[in-house]
């Protein structure tokens, strides 16, 4: 479906007749309104999936700069040798198990964003992750950037607008107006009870003006649970897919199931949990395996949305809270670092390299990469370029130039 087709379908949905407003000589006022609505309707079909790789993924051993000798000088033992890599050009090759990423890159659906980081980087998982979650490095911020984005895309909040698949809610989706739908196992996302009890489950007390903030919070969550659980359960029950997502699908089949069921969710948040990428010790096998899982899951997911006929609507952004120290440590692993790769993938993405790769010879005092791309530029890219929300300066508290990744 091309963009014109898409907007026509949306106009039909929006009740504006045939969508041939201009051709029928509609007054300018209506035409403008129709165009604005079309843009809104177009954008309102678009879905962003954020995938977090927790623990600090070693970007240098993910997309290996095998053409740069400095890489092998820093990593004499754990450096991945060129013949094993899945080369995408003269300089870079993916870790051996990342066949999915290699294919996505070669199909032009995978954008690599180099050198993503921020000033005065934190080496703490929790601080740095919080900075990425809030898009506010070295500042306190109550709400997450995905949550604030939801507040702007749909002020006042709406049911099922944000879905976070996890056991606990990520700070990234914490929102003022929305209560994100957070669940882990869709099969367990339903109240068990006798027939007679069901009407009482529907009752959630009004929370307005409650002096006890915790009570207000649990009541809001109760309302979100009531509104979402049947839809999610139903979506998962109906879903099955011939696509192979690999050994660790990272919750992406659940996202596919909700997309397939047509939930009004625009923002999905999933993660490879439990600091899995924190590879201080003997990282070789472990790290390669984790990357294989991610590559399998992501490429499986994208093929699945294609199968569902929704590939034009879905883009995924992948990040980690930091990269790792450039030189290997003495335990055949790597310690916490700074700048890292990000990936944006999907059919609508113009694949390729973006941003300046950091130098492997001019490191900072702690042997870390010097970042070249503020990670909020990538946020701005997906917010503005993909979701069509233009006031990123307010959202991200600063002007961050988007990359021309779309259209």
């Amino acid at each position: 479906m091309d963009h014109w087709e898409c907007s026509r379908r949306q106009l039909l949905k929006a009740g504006l007749g045939t969508g041939l407003a201009g051709a029928l000589g509609m007054p300018a006022f209506f035409e403008r309104t129709a165009t604005a609505l079309a843009a809104e309707a177009l954008a309102s079909d678009r879905i962003l999936v954020v995938l977090e790789l927790s623990g600090g993924n070693d970007g240098l051993n993910t997309l290996v700069p095998y053409g740069d000798d400095a890489y092998y000088r820093h990593r004499p033992t754990i450096g991945l040798q060129a013949p094993r890599l899945r080369k995408i050009d003269d300089l870079y090759g993916f870790s051996p198990g990342m066949a999915g990423f290699e294919r996505l890159y070669k199909e032009g659906r995978l954008a690599v964003l180099h050198g993503c980081g921020y000033d005065n980087p934190s080496f703490s998982h929790f601080s740095s992750m919080a900075f990425w979650h809030t898009a506010a490095p070295n500042h306190g911020e109550e709400y997450g950037w995905v949550g604030r984005l939801a507040d702007r895309l749909r002020p006042g909040g709406a049911a099922n607008f944000v879905v976070n698949i996890d056991t606990t809610q990520s700070l990234a989706v914490r929102s003022r107006d929305h209560t994100p739908v957070v669940f882990d196992d869709p099969e367990r996302f339903s109240r068990k009870g006798f027939f007679q009890e069901l009407p009482l489950f529907q009752h959630v007390a009004a929370a307005s003006g409650d002096a006890n903030p915790s009570r207000k919070y649990v009541l809001d969550v109760a309302r979100s649970a009531r509104d979402a659980s049947a839809l999610v359960r139903e979506a998962w029950a109906r879903y099955s897919s011939p696509i192979d997502y690999g050994i660790a699908p990272v919750d992406l089949p659940k996202v596919a199931a909700l997309i397939a069921a047509g939930l009004p969710t625009r923002l999905y948040y999933a993660s490879y949990r439990h600091n899995a990428f924190d590879t201080h010790v003997h990282q070789g096998d472990l790290h390669a395996r984790l990357l294989t899982y991610v590559s399998d899951a992501v490429s499986g997911f994208l093929r699945d949305v294609e199968r569902l006929g929704r590939a034009d609507q879905v883009v995924m952004m992948i990040f980690s809270e930091f990269g790792r120290r450039v030189p290997e440590n003495t335990s055949l692993g790597t310690d916490h670092g700074t700048a890292n790769l990000m990936f944006v993938v999907g059919k609508p993405v113009k694949g390729g390299h973006y941003g300046q790769p950091p130098s492997l010879t001019q490191l900072d005092a702690g042997d870390n990469l010097v970042y070249t791309t503020d990670f909020r530029r990538v946020y701005a890219t997906v917010v503005e370029g993909w979701l069509g929300y233009r006031r990123t300066e307010e959202l991200l508290r600063g002007r961050f130039e988007p990359f021309a990744l779309f259209g």
Partner: protein, 590 residues
Amino acid sequence: MANSVGPGPAQWIDDLSPVGPADWSDDRAAHLLERAAFGATSEEVERLARMTPQAAVTSLVAYQTIDNRHLKPFEHSGVHDRSLEPFPASRPAATDLAKATGEALGVRVKPDGNRRLQAVTNKFFYWLRASRLETNRVAYWWAERMLTSPRPLEEKMALFWHGHFATSEEKVRDYRKMLRQLELFQKHATGNFRDLLIGAARDPAMLAFLDAGVNVKGAPNENFAREIMELFTMGVGHYSEADIREAARAFTGWNFADLAFVVNRAQHDDGDKTVLGRRGRFDGVGVIDIILAQPVTAEFVASKLYRFFVREALSPALRSRLGAVLRDNRYAIAPLLRTIFLSRDFYSPASYATRIKSPVELAVSTYKKLGLTEIPGVPDFNEVTSSLGQQLFRPPTVAGWAQGRSWITPGLLIERGNFARSVLFPDINFIPPDRYPPDETIRIVSERIAQGLDVTSATKPGTSKTGSGEMTAMSNMLADRDEDFNTRYASYRGWQMAIEKVKPIPRRTAPIDLTAMVSANRLRTTAEVVDYFGRRFLRLPLEPDLRARLVGFLDAELGTSQVSVAATYMEDSLRMLLHLIMSTPEYQLG
């Protein structure tokens, strides 16, 4: 005793001066037991309410005089043997060792034929499974202590320290180390923080968890030094990266050998270090003392305790006053707890019934309020708490559990109601997770092996939801390329070997008799029943609209509003009523 209901006045917020006998009430005694213990029955609440607040707090905090020798020690299944030590860091490490030496984990490599390393691999997986299952038994044992110990604060503080010095069996892979660590937390529960911190730094589970083994002279590993400053004592922003590197040197050579702490002198860096502005030839204890001398450390620890026991938000002024209490008492924990539990602030509206119970607290206090004296086997305690986001001995990260609002999501709120139902109406299709493997792959392999399939065919991947039409994912294609052993078969066989040895968890359901509870309390009408359940199980009054609906529900169920008429058939309806109450958002607050 005054009849004060609910929280104290708003002016009590941030006021650390003690409440007096005139401020005491059933509600406030219940609040104290909710926080300093694991909740209580109405009878226990009344007992504390009859004391002065000073005496009530003393009865919880100064528990050393209370005899608890009747509590049984943990009963080991006997799953460990010496050949497992030192346990290899990973499956590849185990098979590499076997290839290099002809033997690993007490199992020799087959001289010839197919899958020569299969038995080694089986043994590797055996211990992973056995240690995990045995850890679940330790968790049961601990939960039982939380429920029945006459010193509940000791167990509650152990739970706090477990979250503070978060260590996961998933990485430690040795239930014995986890049990030893728990005993350390129990021993120093309300003792001196310095003793506990040094104990934790020398604890084999902690050393294994934070990669102490690779922190050696000339190549320090910063993991442990970073966590001790960031998570255990000071918090981010009070030390530099250089402090971490220098502190890491002081901890070099600290290691463990099986269950013992050892210092490897040859690997210890005895040179000069500069840590937090002090210079000297410090070892680990020297660094710990420098850290404890920082004013921020007492504030960090005191405010973390406060957030655990009282509420999430505290002002900088209160933080520094709490830090002063801990510092003035030379890091003794008990006096700080006493100050907190007696303070007006603790009973103020900002603190009262505003705390979201953690999953372990929810489960244990539910059992406590039901009057149970043992943890039911159905539902499975670990399965329940894990599905609610808190499995004992498996904190999600080194930062422990996030606490507070993170305990509740839409999914988890529903799970909490379903937990209550699984206690009140036990699932007759219950399958014990200590026998039946939770991993679908193991079950599929087991079935295929029994059908006579060869190992390769029996271990072909694919789950029920995805991948039915193809096998293209790299991870699935690569899984069994090694002919020396098959990991999926080993995973299945390891499980089988483990359940042969690990003692089963008794699977009794909860002996619940709500009819008896109603008659013992001489409740006459459905409205009185709803009000009694509300008081016994909730820390907030039932919202009037909901109360009316619940009374209407019970009237309709019983066909009368008179308890005397319905006494012989009301049990199921009372359980439904309680299920509805426990499913409310308010039940999550304590």
